[in-house]
Amino acid sequence: MLARVRGFFADRDVLEVDTPLMCHATGTDPHLDALALELAPGDRRYLQTSPEFAMKRLLAAGSGPIYQLCKAFRRDETGQRHNPEFTMLEWYRPGFDDSQLMDEVAALMGVCLPAPMLATDADIPRISYRELFRQYLALDPLAASDDELLACARGYTDPGDMTLSRDDLLNLLMSLVIEPQLQAPVFVIEFPASQAALAQITHDHDGYPVARRFELFIAGMELANGYLELTDAAEQSRRFAADNRQRQAAGLPVREVDNRLLAALNHGLPACAGVALGFDRLMMLAAGAGHISEVLSFVADNA
């Protein structure tokens, strides 16, 4: 599988790169917890949660199209589809938009997965986040009130008295109710702007702000997450700050922003689209495995 992936990108003149796993800074995402280590007393480094920042620095330095197969680390993520140390396939395409990149992801799936899993060799269909919620929950995720979202969630699980933000509610419905039903391959597009992460924001045909972000689902499992990348350093700074405010409110440690990334964005990140794909999950699909431990040499408990 590794050889197939490398062959795919070699044929397309995408350069393989190798960036450090230990970094000075880590992301501000309140829902990602990086593992920290001390290089020397008082000299802290983080194990990367993804190679995104380092690869964007290479793009800003004029690397052209690049991909990487590497380890990423996330604290407290263990489950059927999660291991704290996992393999990520991430790539960036200067000059591509999100739609072109989805075409390329679909082409890679054609190379990596058995044909029956993809049903047809036609394109993987795309559906907006809004349409998806309408279809599966008869609910408009952009227009519904928080109370309506909570009432809908209560129809599927007992959330007790936990405090759930609007995005928490949407994520709960997406992960618990909708995702398991997405068996045939599908790209979900046009995420709510509040879930843009590092994607550019645009407006849907009704004028709601939505993110140029996509996720690929196959066999009830999220496999890849991509963006039309944000290139505006000022907007990036604002999102870092917003994340950190959310961290503070949740009692989480505030993360120092990655000034090396901001400097690279200031220098100029080329217009590009990028995507990260869980390589272990791709292996699970190819092997028909139900648990990530079946495709890892040794899981974290036994490493």
Partner: protein, 189 residues
């Protein structure tokens, strides 16, 4: 009291939820591509037996419940309580109320050993062994010659349970019964 975080939830762990002791049956970690991770947790309320699924934000924690499962032998019942005694030689006795013995009520036999679940030192559940041997106190007379197959008839056991038995069974026979299904297994003597 110790607390456990969602990532420590394992089947069999006893926790306090909304003031009730619960046993964790299953725990699944669910995380969207970006955003809040959740744990969907299957629980059994140890006081009322209710089994349901509750969702937690990953990283939330619950207090441990002081729940112990102990072997005890059944002594006797008065009108209100059923009395059990530890088998560890301490002779310590515990009265269990009707709600606690409900699952075992049909299968109680003096001196037999049961698993008693203690919550803060009070019995909340009594689990009978999978198989018990109890004497028949009431049934229609046995049919001569019919020793193996044929129909069945109800028989009342000394514990009060009514089970379906083969026609050859008589009052005074001791039967082996599966407490999980209430089914007759064989005649012991």
């Amino acid at each position: 009291m110790a607390t456990f975080s969602t990532n420590e939830f394992k089947p069999g762990l006893k926790v306090l939820l909304d003031g009730d002791p619960c046993s964790i049956l299953d725990n699944e970690f669910v995380k969207p591509g970006k955003g809040q991770a959740f744990n969907r947790v299957k629980l059994r309320n140890l006081l009322n037996g209710r089994v349901w699924e509750r969702t937690f934000k990953s990283g939330e924690s619950l207090e441990a419940a002081d729940v112990m499962e102990t072997d005890m032998s059944y002594l006797y019942s008065d009108t209100e309580f059923w009395h059990f005694m530890k088998t560890d030689g301490s002779f310590e006795q515990f009265p269990a109320d009707k709600a606690a013995v409900a699952d075992a009520l049909n299968w109680l036999k003096e001196e037999d050993v049961y698993v008693v679940t203690l919550y803060n030192g009070t019995p909340i559940n009594v689990t009978p062994p999978n198989f018990v041997e109890i004497e028949v106190v009431e049934t229609d007379p046995g049919l001569k010659g019919d020793t193996a197959q044929g129909g069945s008839k109800p028989a009342t056991l000394a514990s009060g349970a009514v089970v379906k038995v083969p026609l050859f069974v008589n009052i005074g026979d001791v039967l082996r019964v599966d407490t999980r299904t209430g089914e007759y297994q064989n005649r012991v003597r």
